[in-house]
Every structure is written in C-alpha cells, then in structure tokens.
C-alpha cells in the first residue's frame, strides 16, 4: 500500500465511484437501436427470434441502423401507435414478411361474409357462405342447402339445388389461359395474392394496426390501400398466418365489405365433397357463359340491351347498382317461379348487360380514359355522345353516339359534358361487388367475372 494510508485512499476511491454514478448520461440510446431491440421482440413473439437476431447482429452498424429503422415501423406501430410511416427499406419488408407467412395450403376451409352499406332495400344485412378449397376445386355452401362445386381448371361448375332436386351445370367459355389462371386464384388465391402483396410492401405502404384478439388469438393487423380497395389482413402472432382478411371497396354512395375468416388451412377434406356428378334423382340443366374479354362490340350490344330493357333510355350510369336495377326490372315480370333456374336465353341477356360493366371495368383496370354520358339519352339519338374512350396506344378517342354508331374523334373535339361519368367518378374500376343478384329466377352461382389486370378482391358468386 506504499506510503499511503488506507484512510486517504478510501475517499478517493469513493470519489471515483461517485464520478461514474453522477456523470450525466446523454440521451439515448439512438432510436434505431431501440427499434432493433423491439423488432427482436416481434421475432421472438413469432418464434423467429434467432434468425432475426442473427440477421440484425451480423449486420454492420449502418446496415443495422437502417434495418432497425424499418423494422421499428413494425413493432412500434403495432404495439405503441396505430399508424406510423417510415421511409421504405428492406428491413421493414423483412420484418413484415416475418410477421405474415405466405399461404401455401393446398386445401382450405373458410367463411366469406359480404355486406353493403348503406343496405339496399330488400337485401339481407349480411350474406355468408362457407368455402372449401382443394387444389383447383372449390365448393361454396350457400344458405338453404344449395351448394356449388367449381373446377377452375375446366372452367366448369355445378350448382346443386336440393330443394328443387336440380343441378345447374355451367360452362364458362372464351377464357384465355391468363384469365383461367386468375380464376384459379380466386378465393384462396385472392388471399394468397393479398398476403404476398403485403409481404412485398415497404413500410410506408402499409399501415400497421394495433394488435387485437380474434377468436382468442392475438393478431397483428396490416392495412393497405390498393387502387381504391382497402385490404386489411390480421395474422396470428403465433402462426403468422391470416385469421381474417377484410376488403372494403366501392364507388359512389355504396361501400362493399367482404371478409374472409375462420380459416382452416391444409385441413383434410373428403374428395367426395367436390364431386361434380349429378346426384341420383336430380335433373340437370346445362348452361354456358361467355367469359371472353369484353370488347367494344360487347359495349354496343350491352348498351342496346340496356336501352331495350328501359323503354329506349340508356342507363344513367354504368355501375353495378345501376346494372342490377335494370336487370331486376327486366327479370321480375318473367319470374313465375322464384326457384326456377334462368334459361340460357335469359342468361345470355343478363350476360350481355353485364359485359357493358365488364368492358368499362377493363378500361379502368388498364388505366384507359373513358367517359359515359348516357343519362337522358335514348337509343337512336344520332349525334348525341354516349360513351367515349381512348384505346391503348391510340391517338384518337372512340366515340359512341346514341344511335350506337362509333367514330374516331380527336381529343380536341371531345364533347364537354361536365356530369359525364369517368374512371375517377365512382366508376366500376373494381370487380363486381357481392351485390344483390337479380331477385328471381336464381342465377347460377358462378363467380363474378374478373377482368384481366384489374384489382380483384374476393368475388363471391352472384348469389351471395
């Protein structure tokens, strides 16, 4: 101890200790570090702690901070605030991908519920169906014991109506391979696409919702708005698989809500449930439905049909509700028996009208400029513009007049009709919502046609 007395050293030692204890601590740690720590907790919650930790700790400091910033968007927003937007980056995607697993199930069972707000007169507040999926086969169980089995590969469906002991066999024709693929992705495929879309999104594109408990399971919520469609997926924090998908869309006054829930993925399903054979004692009726891509000719034919159904007047608008109203008015007087299936002729007529809507939806999906000004115009009104659109790559517009003649018109010569309906005016830019079907006779339970390259929320059958 040299020449120093321990009594002299003790105060110095205490002073050294006091220095460390009382030294001001700067603010910290840096936010990215806290974010990385929080993100590790997310991964832990999701049973992926080790891999995420390894990824974070093995990064250099800059990468760590960058990743942590993005990852922080997930955890902070999910647990602390309802909405947080941070600059994009791989880290956010990484964390989101960790929280939401892709759907790889070959079989599935789930519930689809649809409703419209405000509720149109005569519509039930909510419509629900159970869906079973086995590879390319889909079984939809509708209220009242009716069910439909679809083989998406062959574009064929059978609708079994036990009360009437009838089977409606529907063959969809004219579909191109790409459209078949898209059909094949319907329902479960829709969920797959939406999940993939979310997983591939940067943090600034996704709103992370506060956790909530669904059916006793804690779930993370992810919301994204895609071309006017609000998509929210809730994923189980344990399995990282969706427990609920909510879709909201619609233009104009009405909003459509579709939810997919009660998921059972890779559930054993009896192949007999997907049998397309006509049950013994049932009578079968064959129908076909034209599902080819709608063209200008379909627009003209459909507009003519609409006018013919409404004393020569063109529809006020081209949207789902208007088209449905026209069909309702047309079909109601013919409905001698509510349980009767539509004849092929009736179906063709209805489809002709629907294809007007499909054509316009297709234009919107392709970001093609179009306008509809049919309100107050009657079939035969020559020289009165009804519809015009600019085909892709074209210099001039195609203009349809009241007499259904078509002419090429330079953009500078387009009519100026302020209240003309356009793609940004509550147009049917999305696929058909789960709206009411014509009341009677019951239409075939086929999925609403989906135009190529348009956003495609789950499209319950027309019965839904």
């Amino acid at each position: 101890m040299n020449a120093y007395d321990e009594n002299e050293l003790e105060p110095t030692l205490e002073r050294a200790v006091r220095v460390l204890k009382t030294e001001p601590v700067p603010d910290g740690p840096p936010l990215p570090v806290v974010a990385a720590v929080l993100a590790a907790g997310v991964a832990e919650t999701l049973n992926k702690h080790r891999s995420l930790r390894e990824r974070i700790t093995s990064m250099n400091r800059i990468a760590k901070i960058a990743a942590a910033f993005a990852a922080a968007a997930v955890i902070i927003a999910a647990t602390v605030v309802a909405f947080l937007v941070l600059p994009g980056g791989r880290g956010g995607t990484l964390a989101l991908a960790d929280m939401l697993k892709p759907i790889t199930a070959k079989t599935a069972k789930f519930t689809i519920t649809a409703r419209i707000e405000p509720l149109p007169p005569g519509m039930p507040p909510e419509q629900t169906m159970q869906v079973l999926v086995m590879e390319n086969l889909i079984r939809q169980e509708l209220p009242g014991g009716m069910y439909q089995v679809m083989d998406l590969k062959s574009s064929r469906s059978v609708t079994i109506m036990p009360q009437q002991k009838k089977v409606m066999v529907m063959q969809m024709t004219g579909m191109r391979q790409g459209e078949k693929d898209q059909m094949s992705n319907d329902f479960l495929g829709e969920l797959r696409r939406r999940v993939e879309e979310l997983r591939g999104s940067g943090p600034k594109d996704v709103e992370f919702l506060p956790d909530k408990t669904l059916d006793g399971r804690l779930a993370h919520g992810f919301h994204k708005r895609v071309e006017g469609i609000d998509i929210t997926v809730w994923a189980d924090t344990e399995t990282c698989l969706p427990v609920l998908m909510e879709i909201r869309y619609g233009g104009g006054a009405q909003q459509y809500f579709v939810t997919m829930s009660n998921f059972e993925l890779d559930v054993p399903l009896d192949p007999a449930l997907f049998s397309m054979a006509v049950p013994e004692g049932y009578t079968a009726e064959e129908r076909s439905m034209n599902m080819s891509p709608p063209t200008e000719a379909d627009l003209l034919a459909g507009l003519r049909q609409c006018a013919n159904m409404a004393d020569g007047a063109f529809p006020d608008r081209i949207d789902q509700n208007t088209i449905m109203e026209i069909l309702k008015k047309w079909i109601t007087p013919q409905a001698g028996n509510a349980q009767q299936s539509p004849t092929q002729e009736q179906m063709d007529t209805m489809m002709k009208v629907q294809r007007v809507l499909l054509f316009v939806m297709q234009l919107s999906g392709e970001k093609v400029d179009w306008r509809y000004a049919g309100r107050g115009v009657h079939l035969g009104d020559a020289g009165t513009p009804v519809f015009w659109y600019l085909p892709k790559g074209a210099a001039n517009y195609r203009m349809v007049c009241g007499d259904l003649t078509v002419a090429d018109v330079a953009p500078s010569a387009l009519p100026d009709i302020p209240d003309a309906q356009g793609p940004d005016d509550g147009s049917p830019s999305q696929p058909s919502p789960p709206a009411q079907a014509p009341p009677v006779p019951a239409p075939p339970a086929v999925p609403a046609p989906v135009p190529p390259q348009s956003p495609t929320p789950a499209t319950p059958p027309a019965d839904l």
Binding site: V19, P29, A36, V37, G41, E44, T79, D211, L218
Partner: protein, 181 residues
Amino acid sequence: MAPNPRKRLQMTDWSSIVHENTPLVWGTAWRLLANQADAADCFQETFLAALEISRRETVRSWSALLVKIATARAVDRLRSRLRRGEINGEAFGWDAIPSPKTGPVEAAQDRELGAWLRRVLAQLPQPEGVIFSLRVLNEWSYEQIARELAMTTSAVGVAIHRTRARLKERLASRITRPEEV
C-alpha cells in the same frame, strides 16, 4: 428453471419491458463505457441476451436481469477495449459529456478518476468487476447480487472486499507511479 411455453413473451409485454427499462440499461451501459457506440451495442446485446434467456426460463425480474447482463457486457467491452489499447482520451468521448463540476481542475480530476476506475474495472478478474459495479454503481444489496449471480451472500461480501482492496492498491500505485494504471 423449466421453460414455460404457456407464458411465452407477448409482443406487448416486450414493448413494455423495453420502454420501462431503457433508461436503466442505457445508464448502466453508459456509466461503464462512456462511449455512445459501445453503450448502444451493449444496450442492444443486453436486451437480446435477456430475450434469449426468457425463452429458457421464467424471468422473475426483468430489471435485475437486464442490469446484470448490461453490467457484465459492459465490463466485457471494457476489457476488449483495454486489450486493443482503446481505453484512453477521446475513445471515451469525454467531450460529449458536460461536467457537472464548476471548477476546471476538479472537473479534470474527476474525469481522470472516472477513466481510471473504468480501466481498473476492466482489469479485475471476473466476476469481481461485475459484482463491484452492481454494488457501487447500481447499489444492489449483497443479497440481491448473490441471488442474481447464484452465489452465497458471503461470497459476494468477500468479492467486494477483495475488489476494494485491489482498487486501493491500484490507486496507491497510481499516485506513486502515475505512468502505471
């Protein structure tokens, strides 16, 4: 302790744990390391290590666990820096800390003393450095240290006594031979 899978950490729990203990862990790391980058790394390692522990066993006290880990990690870092010859002057970021002292001489002395204590803590055999830090910097009781480090109270007392003696020896050496530690 046996794992308790039914008591898995929930994200909201973790968020609370992090937020509640951030000042404590950051302060613990900073006091020993006095360097932004090192303290940040220590902070992160501490929480990640604690998270890993929570997978294996039930955590009775997150604060205690975190302080214990933070102290051990910080001392480890001090030792690493000492080995690399980085414990001196700027490496500790003195300029970043405003001194609470008014007198420049006293402030300089305090800085010197603080740096000296950190160097010495890095040179102490383990776990003495950690035990001493928990006792004097975090004011843990002997019992708490013993419980958290799975030691007997008397062993903790012996370690602290021995550490004080070593520190005083080093202090005496420093005063007589300032070129040494």
